[in-house]
């Protein structure tokens, strides 16, 4: 029995003990509300209580989301007529001829990402206890506020609601970098904010081009309605643009908009600055969850709504993915700041997602989605490790320390295992995800898919190069530290997040299908069926 069947069984077996059905339907809202109330409560608490309070509060959405994950009963893709789990839809207001509704719900793509968000928020809060030593209540309040927004992004099924959450995520991250960041925090924070915001505008314009192009065939801004109308080929002309041109332009605008967020080379330069200046917990969230917003949106908008364009543009998009993988990895190789290394390797790893998405195969699209979760855990782990090292040594430069493994064995051990997970070692989540992507894209529909996939695979060699090199220099050899701090073992609340992530990574890599991939495939599979899609061919 697959785990999905098991979940449904569990749901049936325990349904008598569940709260009233209406509340269960409002689970997502409950999660968001809890985070917002928690954020407010922490915000007004005195600084000394904030860390523990925030941790305690964040456990509630984590446990709830895990419960949701276990009882998840969605079928198919939320945008393409599947049974949406935890669905709620309430008419809200009318904009011209479009209804805007509070429309939330989850499918096999968004459900794992919600759990990723709640899990990483809790762990990031724990990882903040040591390094964040000022304005704690504001810091933790913003973290919880960000959690609420992230759940909203993954749960929203109406464009305007989604967009509000999408933008709302930026605000706490802006302040987290700008207030608690490193020396050049202001520059990094503003660069992050401006770059991603301009991208949002470009995307917004592109999306509304589609909305107007659809004309009367849609009556609301609900994403399922728009996606299904687009796939049914109901896109009309807009101004001087015919349906094909409009679809192409809108695709490009949305692609560029989301590519900044992912980031896809060459739109990546805000990322290393943001990561280097951000405090560790913010880096964990940024790499672990915020980047996935970009790929999630690419999947939901570009690749679900305009599959024909995506297939036509497959070669250049795949080439961009491969470029991100190889170029990002080469850049990581040139760095000596541990955080910069991990930051650039994120650029590299997200390239696998792009490659998988464009393949339009079961393993490709599913693997890309799986990689979002997997990379979230692995990059979160590595950033957290670098954070623990920084807390102790107050340096992140590779040349400034060596032999840390002797002084901090658990941290070093986690770093080693995390690094190998990043390198795609089998039985860890990264290998599963990357292997799915490779298998999915090797004989995909587009030209040169074999060559491009083979090139992409070379990423696994470069990543081994720079991670092994940095481990050799920092963790091994005789102990030495350029900074005058007493290097001792890290405390439990510092290493606990590392161990939790390790367990998750190994579990997900060993039992990928039962733990997540089955749900993912169930939701990505409808996207692949593009036989009905013919842009401009409809009414």
């Amino acid at each position: 029995m697959g785990s999905l069947a098991f979940a449904r069984e569990l749901r049936r077996a325990t349904s008598c003990g569940l709260p009233p059905w209406g509340v269960v339907r409002m689970m997502l809202e409950l999660l968001i509300a809890l985070c917002l109330v928690g954020a407010f409560a922490v915000f007004v608490l005195p600084d000394e209580y904030a860390p523990k309070a925030a941790f305690g509060i964040s456990l509630v959405p984590l446990v709830l989301s895990l419960y949701m994950y276990l009882t998840f009963d969605g079928v198919g893709n939320a945008l393409l007529g599947g049974d949406i789990a935890f669905e709620s839809q309430y008419q809200w207001l009318t904009l011209g001829s479009y209804d805007v509704s509070w429309f939330m719900g989850l499918d096999g793509i968004s459900m794992p990402l919600v759990v990723l968000a709640t899990l990483l928020t809790t762990l990031a809060i724990l990882a903040s206890w040591t390094p964040i030593d000022m304005r704690q209540s504001q810091f933790y309040g913003l973290m919880l506020f960000m959690e609420a927004s992230l759940i909203g992004v993954f749960g929203a099924l109406d464009f305007l609601i989604w967009f509000v959450f999408w933008e709302a995520v930026l605000v706490p991250m802006y302040f987290l970098i700008g207030i608690w960041g490193g020396a050049r925090r202001k520059y990094a924070a503003i660069k992050f904010f401006v770059y991603t915001n301009i991208a949002s505008i470009v995307m917004f314009v592109g999306f509304f081009g589609l909305v107007f192009g659809l004309g009367d065939s849609i009556s609301s801004l609900a994403l399922p309605e728009i996606a299904q109308a687009l796939r049914a080929g109901e896109l009309g002309s807009l101004g001087a643009f015919g349906p094909e041109q409009l679809a192409l332009l809108a695709f490009l605008a949305m692609f560029v908009g989301f590519a900044v967020k992912v980031p896809v080379v060459p739109f990546h330069t805000w990322l290393p600055d943001a990561h280097v200046e951000a405090p560790t917990p913010a880096s964990v969230m940024l790499a672990g969850v915020l980047l996935k917003m970009g790929t999630y949106a690419l999947l939901r908008y570009n690749f679900t709504m305009l599959p024909t364009i995506a297939r036509d543009l497959a070669v250049p998009i795949a080439a961009l993915g491969v470029l991100s993988i190889l170029y990002g990895a080469m850049l990581a190789l040139a760095q000596s700041d541990l955080k910069r290394i991990v930051a650039y390797s994120s650029v590299s790893s997200m390239g696998y997602v792009t490659l998988g998405l464009v393949a339009y195969t079961m393993y490709g699209t599913g693997g890309a989605t799986f990689q979002m979760v997997s990379h979230g855990l692995i990059s979160g782990l590595l950033f957290a490790c670098v954070g623990v090292i920084y807390n102790t040594t107050h340096t992140r430069m590779v040349g400034d320390m060596s032999g840390l493994a002797e002084k901090m064995p658990v941290t070093a051990g986690s770093f080693i295992v995390g690094a190998f997970a990043y390198m795609g070692l089998p039985l860890m989540a990264g290998f599963a995800a990357e292997f799915f992507v490779f298998v999915g894209s090797f004989d995909a529909h587009f030209a040169y898919s074999t060559v491009l996939t083979a090139l992409a695979m070379f990423g696994i060699v470069i990543v081994a190069g720079y991670l092994l090199w940095s481990m050799q220099r920092t963790l091994f050899g005789p102990f030495r530290s350029e900074t005058d701090y007493d290097v001792t073992t890290a405390s439990l609340h510092d290493v606990a997040p590392l161990l939790v992530l390790l367990v998750c990574i190994i579990a997900l890599g060993t039992f990928p299908y039962d733990l997540a991939f089955e749900r993912v495939l169930d939701a990505t599979e409808p996207i692949l069926d593009t036989t009905v899609a013919a842009v401009g061919g409809g009414s």
Partner: protein
């Protein structure tokens, strides 16, 4: 039902060492021997179970069982599974691996525990995981599972080579080992993905598996099946796939040009070297070729390349071994060279010969490393042979065991190495004579290497054990205990007599003497046995090898001539070493090599160009990319922003603290945009 019960328990062969890994990792520090006992119990259990499955395969039949579906279900194009395949080949290898792992655990008690090393729980945990990974690799029933455990073997060797991480050398060597093999595994991974894309399965075969990729490939070549060959001729595409997988093989089995990691890997503890060289990491590569031999046998090109790489590596590495000063370095190059022979056999159409040499080599090389380990204990971790000498009287058990291993390595009759190396050369020779000049060239290189092998082996024995002690430690060596001597004694006997499992020349004369290994490997399941491989090798639709004979001597005559030639060369090499290095105080003699001396000492400058490729060239490109990224790409971003509303000045002004204004500005902009759209579309009318 005895055999089926054995098969039921078979997964425990790999699970037991995994449990010992967990025990040592989590509780090792509380245990009296820090996990050594757990490891010995586990590997001992694996050995017993392996022997039981070997027996079950012997009396019954082979067995294949899918244990876990990694990815499956109705939505999936093709399933990815874990399962076990127990046939003559895999059960033989299971016995070899668990035997050596068990002895290495025992030896480690003497080498590590008695030496008062720190980090022992970590050591035994890694040793357990290493063994478990290798055993999982050996009984894997499909290529993906094999790849996954292959990589785990690589991880464990990284951890164990770098065991003494507080020093500078071991972490560097560990990194090199992982990187070089990873480079090979890159090709392997493409191969695995390609196999899935072509066949939709990566099963090796076995009872109940009708559509293994090996079998489908065979059918495709004779037109009974059709697969997507990506625009190539089927045989060309299968050759490409085979060669891609071969990348991983060459990396792990340290074949030229991927051999450079192996000598550096001597930085690890010596028992680990024994395990890596004899039974796990390095053996994994060639074992994979044997495992999917039915696939390689389809392509004469792939086989020829395997044979050439093997023959060249055998010779190339043997010449480097002749000048080495450190005992473990000599052994390291001999390992590279000996795995070259195994490759030569497999490429030359000698499947049984390759497995035979893999078996005998496992015993005598484990023995030699453990013997060297014993010497190193005695010498207080001085590995330089020029500081040794005269150890023969002080440590007779080590000496006689080491001598047995050395004679096997040199290929002196009747020690095990003679029989297997002779069969390797014979198979290559006859198939070469059958009309394949490439094989003849590979054979010639392998043959010349026999001379060097004899030379460096005897030189090593003489310098280490004979003559007068050349240092104070050698005059008064540290004694070793039973836990060192017992493994040496067991392996010493095995190295001497293991040849009886395939006495080909004797069988040719007295047919009552069986070729046990030959019969053993020929009785495997359909499609996975030596007989079938022989048919493939000789079929014109596939490899198309034919057998020839030497100067009209006939089959038996060629067999004896081949054995005679290689034995003569081995003896000649040994005698030359004996002449040069006998006596109480031998001289180094390397100056006689002239211009060759620095070339050999520097290993033909192989390291230099590879380090340059990995560090010099790549890092330079990386720096360039970094400069390009900061200057051009990010420069462009900053340039655009300085042109725009948010120019440098304004940015700085915003930075003075009025960030909310800025956020408000953006929100306002978006609202205006929305309103503008709305007005355009007449929402508010």
């Amino acid at each position: 039902m005895a055999e089926s019960l054995a098969f039921e328990f078979a997964p425990a062969i790999a699970v037991l060492p995994f449990v010992s890994f967990l025990v040592a990792l989590l509780a090792g520090r509380y245990l009296p021997k820090k996990g050594a006992i757990a490891g010995m119990v586990a590997t001992g259990g694996s050995l017993l179970l392996s022997a039981w499955t070997l027996f079950a395969v012997h009396t019954g039949h082979a067995y294949q069982q899918t244990l876990y579906t990694w990815v499956g279900g109705e939505l999936v194009d093709f399933e990815l599974t874990f399962g076990i395949l127990l046939d003559p080949l895999s059960t033989l290898m299971l016995v070899i691996v668990s035997t050596i792992a068990f002895l290495v655990h025992m030896f480690s008690l003497g080498y590590m525990n008695d030496d008062g090393q720190t980090g022992l729980p970590r050591y035994y945990a890694e040793l357990g995981l290493f063994t478990a990974s290798m055993l999982g690799f050996v009984f894997a029933d499909n290529l993906l599972m094999a790849f996954m455990f292959f990589e785990l073997v690589g991880l464990c060797s990284y951890l164990l080579i770098g065991f003494w991480f507080r020093e500078a050398g071991p972490p560097s060597a560990a990194k090199k080992a992982f990187l070089v093999t990873r480079f090979g595994d890159y090709f392997f991974l493409i191969g695995v993905v390609g196999v899935f894309a072509t066949f939709g399965t990566s099963m090796f075969g076995g009872p109940g598996v009708d559509d293994s990729f090996v079998h489908v490939a065979e059918q495709a070549l004779v037109g009974e099946a059709s697969v997507n060959t990506f625009g190539f001729e089927p045989q060309t595409w299968f050759t490409i796939l085979g060669l891609l997988v071969l990348g991983g093989v060459m990396g792990k089995s340290a074949q030229f040009p991927f051999h450079t990691w192996l000598p550096d890997a001597m930085e690890g503890p010596t028992p680990v070297s024994a395990l890596i060289h004899a039974a796990t990491m390095v053996a994994a590569g060639v074992y994979l070729v044997a495992r999917m031999y039915g696939f390689y046998a389809l392509s004469p090109t792939a086989l020829a390349i395997i044979a050439l790489v093997g023959g060249f590596t055998a010779l190339f590495a043997a010449t480097m071994a002749v000048v080495k000063r450190e005992i473990k370095q000599v052994l390291a190059y001999s390992t590279i060279s000996q795995y070259g022979y195994i490759m030569l056999a497999l490429g030359g159409g000698g499947y049984v010969a390759g497995v035979f040499h893999l078996t005998t080599h496992a015993f005598f090389k484990a023995l030699l490393f453990l013997g060297a380990g014993s010497v190193i204990i005695a010498m207080h971790h001085n590995e330089n042979m020029w500081d040794m000498g005269g150890l023969k009287e002080k440590m007779p058990v080590t000496y006689y065991a080491f001598l047995s291993g050395s004679l096997a390595l040199a290929g002196i009759v009747p020690f095990s190495g003679f029989w297997s190396k002779d069969e390797v050369l014979y198979e290559t020779l006859v198939h070469g004579l059958g009309g394949s000049p490439i094989l003849l060239a590979a054979y010639a290189m392998g043959l010349i290497a026999v001379f060097f092998t004899g030379f460096y082996t005897v030189r090593m024995v003489l310098l280490t054990f004979h003559g007068e002690p050349r240092s104070e430690t050698a005059a008064d060596p540290e004694p070793v205990r039973w836990n060192v001597k017992l493994p040496l004694a067991v392996l010493g006997v095995l190295a001497a007599v293991a040849g009886v499992i395939n006495l080909v020349p004797v069988h040719a004369v007295v047919s009552a003497v069986p070729e046990i290994l030959h019969d053993w490997l020929y009785h495997g399941p359909t499609g996975l046995n030596g007989e079938h491989y022989h048919e493939l090798i000789t079929n014109d639709a596939f490899a198309g090898y034919t057998s020839g004979e030497l100067l009209g001597l006939g089959e038996t005559g060629t067999l004896f001539a081949s054995a005679g030639i290689s034995l003569a060369l081995a003896v000649a090499g040994s005698l030359l070493a004996l002449v040069l290095y006998r006596g109480p105080d031998p001289a180094e003699h390397t100056d006689k090599l002239g211009a060759l001396k620095p070339v050999l000492f520097n290993n033909y400058y192989q390291d230099e160009y590879q380090v340059w490729l990995a560090e010099g060239a790549t890092v330079r490109v990386a720096r360039l990319a970094d400069r390009f990224d900061r200057g051009i790409i990010d420069g462009l971003v900053n340039f655009v922003s300085s042109l725009s509303l948010f120019s440098g000045d304004r940015l700085r002004r915003v930075q003075t603290g009025i960030v909310t204004n800025y956020a408000a500005l953006l929100t306002l902009g978006l609202t205006l945009l929305l309103v503008a759209f709305g007005v355009m579309q007449g929402w508010f009318v």
